[in-house]
């Protein structure tokens, strides 16, 4: 087990991203789908930090800082929305929220 290279980190991050995406597609509960979105954002963060280290640029880490903040903001608003939705419809299952359709 040698020292991990940039490639290792990138593949790791890519896999994480794909798992998150798969979760968004596969899960039926909006809340869990949202958790999977968080995984995807985190995957991007991992790439950023890895790049930041291997290009010797702190700027990437600053961007991660922004991403974390924005993610927190989105979680706050999104959860508020989901709670309101739950209050009205008593569910957060994706397939039960399909009044708007073709």
């Amino acid at each position: 087990m040698g020292t991990p290279t940039l490639g290792h980190y990138l593949v790791l991050s890519g896999l994480l991203f794909a798992i998150g995406l798969a979760g968004v597609i596969a899960r039926r509960d909006l809340l869990i789908m949202y958790m999977c979105l968080e995984i995807m954002l985190n995957a991007a963060n991992l790439s950023l930090v890895a790049f930041s280290r291997f290009t010797q640029q702190v700027r990437g880490e600053v961007f991660v800082f922004f991403v974390i903040t924005v993610a927190a903001v989105e979680v706050a608003v999104g959860l508020a929305l989901l709670v309101s939705l739950y209050r009205m419809k008593r569910t957060t299952k994706a397939e039960e929220i399909t009044a708007l359709k073709f």
């Binding site: 995406l21 968004v24 596969a26 899960r27 789908m33 994706a94 397939e95 399909t98 359709k101 073709f102």
Partner: protein
């Protein structure tokens, strides 16, 4: 000054639309003044008192410069004079014809818009400007034909006209784009087309541009809208079918002749389209009973003549016939309108009879128009038709014989409707109580009848104005053949219909207009069915598979798939999104 041509009717249309729709008197006044101003301006231009203005840049971007300007050469001046003159007379006539219509304010506004767009086509200096006004003519004629939109038939007719024109315009637009792409400019300049000379694209460009004419000038196979367009008020029929909209196609062909002449193939397609249209329309006209439909088919037939002339490189002949035809066809339509006005919109000639005695002025003027259209020597139609036949005889002998036969048919059906409608005994009570139309409708008739008599003579100067006849040997065969044809037609008509009170001949093929409508209806129906099937297929499979409801087949594929493709389900949305992203990646890296 010359800008008045466009500004006067445009501002009239705008004023009526914004403020005066509810005030018929005011909008009549505004609209008639505007058309008078345009006519006077056109007169001033024709007399050389008004010069063409400098062009303004309308779009000025690197790579594309479109100017808005005015071409005022002989071609345009003649057309301007004819269009504005006829339009003015039609405005005056409409005062009487539309006097009782509650919506006439709107009517006059739409007339002004139509006039403005027509003038735009005439003076256009480049393809883009012409296309803009071309489309605008389409829109405003849509409004005018559908003027009585309460009637379902009018709404349908308007839609039909619109659709047929769109088909033609699609080709026209592609033609313009191709021209621009090859020549690098959109201006009407013979030098501009140099890049096309000898290019394999030349016939394609020519034919694509011709598509626009096929739609607007009602050539086969896009002619079906024109007879139905009779649903509009009669002044509209006169305006659209006589002088202006349908003539726009022929005018356009003359204007862009510098492109067409680069390819003999395109020219012969054009000539044949015109010849066939002329013949088929004349055949249909012999068996129609609706007076306005007869006139509509005869218009189509005459337009076929003009297109034929262009196809035989006889632009002068085409424009000459266009002008004289504009006069006598407007006259015929307004005469017919006058009859309809008196007979409370009875259009069947077999329910008229003896109208001539009740309405002498209308009868005399209509008769002059009919004689001019039939090509009786001494009247305008004779001279111009003669020109076209000469041109045809020189380059396409087969088409010449077709055209001569058409001339006989023309004389035949004009005799038929004149005899049946105006002579004999009144066949209904409405006719017995008919009265001559008011003077405001009569005056335009008189003016046009005068023009229908004199416009053809050399002293009137139309041909000279256009720069003289096409060079070439004039054969004696032509006048002989055409005279024989006219006489044959007249005699046949007189024998067949002199004393008839019922239709003596019945040819279903002609009555049913060669079954064009049936064929189209069937095709459209099929198309609709097929596209409905296609749409529902898309709905079920593509949209259904990706994001909407599943159908029975989805069930058969398995309930699992069904669950995956639920309607409005966010999970599929996410899946589609991911597929899209995957597709992008595939396109970038998969190659």
């Amino acid at each position: 000054m010359a800008w008045l041509l466009l500004l006067a009717p445009l501002s009239s249309a705008f004023l009526v639309w914004v403020a005066l729709r509810r005030h018929p008197r005011a909008s009549q006044a505004v609209s008639i003044t505007a058309s008078l101003i345009t006519f006077l301006t056109a007169l001033g231009i024709a007399l050389g008192r008004i010069e063409a203005p400098a062009s303004l840049a309308w779009i000025d971007l690197p790579g594309l410069r479109v100017e808005i300007g005015m071409t005022l050469d002989a071609l345009a001046r003649l057309m301007l004079l004819m269009v504005t003159g006829v339009a003015f007379l039609i405005h005056v006539y409409s005062l009487g014809y539309m006097a009782e219509d509650p919506g006439r304010g709107r009517f006059f506004g739409e007339l002004s818009l139509f006039l403005a767009s027509m003038i735009g086509i005439i003076v256009a200096t480049n393809f883009v400007m012409m296309y803009i006004f071309w489309e605008l003519v389409g829109v405003s004629s849509y409004l005018l034909i559908g003027f009585w939109f309460e009637k379902n038939s009018a709404a349908d007719a308007a839609r039909k006209a619109f659709l047929a024109n769109r088909v033609g315009d699609f080709g026209f637009l592609l033609g313009i784009l191709t021209f621009w792409a090859t020549c690098g400019t959109v201006a009407f300049h013979p030098e501009a087309a140099r890049a096309l000379a000898g290019n394999w694209l030349a016939p394609i460009v020519g034919l694509l541009l011709f598509c626009g004419c096929v739609g607007k000038s009602a050539q086969i196979p896009l002619h079906v809208w024109l007879p139905d367009a009779m649903e509009g008020p009669t002044p509209v029929s006169a305006l659209i079918h006589a002088a202006t909209m349908v003539a726009a196609g022929v005018y356009m062909l003359c204007r862009i002749f510098f492109v067409l002449e680069l390819s003999p193939e395109a020219l012969s397609v054009i000539a044949w389209t015109g010849g066939i249209t002329a013949l088929v329309a004349a055949l249909i006209a012999t068996q129609q009973n609706d007076i306005k439909r007869v006139l509509a088919y005869s218009t189509m037939s005459q337009l076929g003549y003009m297109v034929l002339a262009v196809g035989c490189s006889g632009t002068t002949a085409a424009m000459f016939h266009l002008t004289t035809h504009g006069f006598f066809k407007a006259l015929l339509f307004m005469g017919a309108g006058s009859v309809l006005h008196a007979l409370h919109h009875e259009q069947d000639i077999w329910r008229m009879g003896g109208v001539g005695r009740k309405m002498p002025l209308t009868f005399v003027t209509f008769g002059i128009g009919a004689a001019a259209l039939s090509g009786i020597p001494g009247l305008a139609g004779f001279f111009s038709k003669e020109e076209i036949l000469q041109v045809a005889a020189r380059s396409q002998p087969v088409l010449f014989w077709m055209a001569a036969f058409t001339a006989a048919l023309t004389a035949f059906y004009m005799t038929r409707i004149t005899l049946v409608a105006f002579l004999g005994q009144p066949r209904t009570d409405v006719v017995r109580h008919a009265k001559e139309s008011p003077l405001v409708m009569g005056l335009p008739l008189i003016v046009l009848a005068g023009l229908a008599i004199v416009a053809g003579y050399p002293f009137f100067g139309i041909v000279r104005y256009l720069g003289g006849q096409e060079a070439g040997e004039n054969s004696l065969l032509v006048p002989a053949a055409s005279l024989t044809a006219v006489i044959l037609g007249l005699v046949a008509g007189a024998i067949g219909y002199g004393r008839a009170s019922r239709e003596p001949i019945a040819i279903p093929l002609f009555q049913r207009k060669f079954y064009f409508d049936e064929i189209y209806d069937w095709t459209v129906l099929k198309l609709q069915e097929e596209s409905a099937r296609l749409l529902s297929w898309i709905d079920q499979w593509i949209i259904g598979f990706v994001l909407v409801r599943g159908g029975a087949f989805v069930v058969s594929l398995g309930g699992e798939v069904l669950r995956l493709v639920q309607a409005g389900n966010l999970r599929e949305y996410a899946f589609v999104f991911a597929l899209g992203a995957g597709g992008l990646l595939f396109l970038l890296f998969g190659r």
